[in-house]
């Protein structure tokens, strides 16, 4: 992928756990280790949604996290891209018969990139981030 001029800064991601089993978290941490080293492209996890371009969500949305997720989403500056990592956020996954879920992530906030897998491999997560980057460029009006 060729970086366009419109992408003039690093891509920062904020990771949000909305009730995941920690499997996806382990893979996200694996994706930012020196083995893949996405930070050489400026892709890194940040500690607050106010600094982030991409919201990385793992897990189905549990009842108590729904309000928090909406608040975190509202705190992110435009343009923003939402990434749903793992099968749970897409279709419930292993929590398919739970009584405590508020539907898949895309019924709570709009999702741009889906990364399926239980858990997805780090390569898949990085691929998803690249897709998010492309989308962000499109939103910003670059990449023509």
């Amino acid at each position: 992928m060729k970086l366009t001029r419109s992408f003039n800064r690093s891509l920062w991601a904020f990771h949000f756990n909305s009730g995941s089993c920690n499997g996806c978290e382990i893979e996200i941490v694996a994706a930012i280790t020196p083995r893949y080293d996405p930070e050489r492209f400026g892709i890194k996890l940040v500690g607050t949604p106010r600094h982030a371009d991409v919201l990385v969500i793992t897990g189905p949305v549990v009842k108590k996290m729904k309000d928090r997720l909406l608040r975190v989403y509202a705190q992110m500056p435009e343009p923003k891209v939402v990434m749903c990592v793992g099968t749970c956020g897409i279709s419930g996954g292993v929590f398919y018969d739970s009584y405590n879920l508020e539907g898949p992530v895309d019924e709570v906030i709009p999702v741009d990139v889906y990364v399926p897998g239980c858990p997805p491999r780090p390569e898949a997560i990085i691929h998803g981030v690249v897709k998010a980057l492309e989308k962000l460029e499109r939103i910003q009006g670059g990449g023509r």
């Binding site: 929590f95 009584y99 405590n100 539907g103």
Partner: protein, 214 residues
Amino acid sequence: MRNGRLTPEEVVERFTERLGADILETRVQERREGIKKNPNYNIWIDLNRDALKPAIEALIEIHYPHLSVIAGSDLGETIRLLYHFTIYYGTPAGEYTVTLAVDLPKGDLTIPTISDLIPGAVFTEREKQEFFGITVLDIPDGRRLFLPEDFPQGVYPWRKDETGVPDSMVNKLWASKRPTDRPAPPAEEKEACELETGEEVEKPGSTGVEEEPK
């Protein structure tokens, strides 16, 4: 006695002497762990409900116990609570797990609190209250712990009877945005094949060779 510690059999004896007929069943399980195959002992003790607190007092006298968790399972007629303890905690390869099991009939789901003996137990007791509908008598804090505030009363998620979670409470995530207008798959489902001896294994290979020239 090894280094002032009781053997697992002596631990069991201590309980049977103290509580007599209230002990319903005891079992000592030995497992080997590590390259050196160090023995690891699990002690299982089934009790009457009234003997639970004396049993924990007896356990405290043996050694400072570490309560892992109170586990529970719905067995149909009864709910079985398992108090998982470890004694001789911190002794390398010398810890015993002691599990005290109590059966509660569904008609009378009450159990005395053990949080006066082990204050930290109040959290796991609160969890058992909300997930099984058990009443822990004299619990200092009987609020809900994990379930949301608007969770309906009288629904206990870990119960397997009619007080369990009804299907209407399950938000079917897998059905969300699933297309309903797709045609049925053209191929019918294959019947489960029955494996016969010898012949069945050869067939796929021989037919494959014949078909290839076409």
